[in-house]
């Protein structure tokens, strides 16, 4: 019963994910695309929870769906971006072969991943993850790993963010 529930939840959130991603492509206005990307990120956070990645799910919502997407929506509204205009007719080969080629390529890829490699035999994220007896992926475990084994990359990250802040300020500054 619990095993079935896990599969059902995965399919619900996966469907929302793919629907949001396709809606991102279908929408003409950038604000609609940004909002459907927030839907994709939110349901991805739920899928991370199904995999037992609590910390990653939390920062997915806070950093990605929160901070980064607020930045995007802010810039879209600041620049008053309207409906995108279609320019430059694409190549005719791409127009004719694009969708069939994509479907064939994805089908071959899915077949290869699920059959040839034998990855469909491996089952992950079962009730043992949900019961959380192993405490896998909670902030304590991730923090212990982050501040012990990955301390140097973590500190280098702060320099990266400092440079990104200065770059953003310099680039967005109005020239006198």
């Amino acid at each position: 019963m619990k095993i079935m529930l896990h599969l059902v939840l995965f399919f619900i959130f996966a469907a929302v994910c793919v629907g949001g991603a396709i809606n991102l492509l279908a929408q003409k206005h950038p604000i609609n695309s940004a909002l459907s990307l927030i839907v994709v990120m939110g349901s991805l956070a739920m899928i991370y929870l199904l995999l037992g990645a609590e910390f990653v799910a939390a920062i997915q919502v806070i950093v990605y769906a929160g901070a980064v997407m607020v930045l995007f929506v802010f810039v879209i509204m600041l620049l008053n971006a309207g409906v995108e205009e279609r320019t430059a007719q694409g190549s005719r080969v791409a127009t004719v072969l694009g969708i069939p080629g994509l479907i064939i390529g994805l089908s071959i890829g899915i077949w290869a991943v699920s059959r040839v490699t034998g990855l469909d035999k491996i089952q992950i994220g079962g009730p043992d993850v949900m019961d959380n007896t192993a405490a896998f992926g909670n902030p304590q475990a991730v923090g212990r790993l982050l501040f012990r084994d990955y301390l140097l990359p973590f500190e280098v990250t702060s320099i990266l963010i400092l440079i990104a802040i200065m770059g953003a300020v310099v680039l967005a500054r109005r020239e006198e």
Partner: protein, 100 residues
Amino acid sequence: MVPLSYYLILSGLLFACGVAGFLIKRNIITIFLSIELMLNGVNLTFVAFAAQLKSLDGHIFVFFVMVVAAAEAAVGLAIIIAVFRTRETLNVDRVNLLKL
């Protein structure tokens, strides 16, 4: 229990949607959103393999990918604002000259 291949197929679909958006969209902000979609697809692969290998290193990698994505979003949006100031357009087909 969900087969590992389902997670990989889902992340592949998200990545394919990101690539398609990157190629067919003409608005520079939507192209940037497609790049974020691709990064999300890759993150799902990291977390799925971390669950399969019972190792937390994948979660750390996702953490670093998110940090780089946040920095990239800040710098990229600043570049978009600078481009809009000089060109008055967001269409990538109209931003085809290095020199104004």
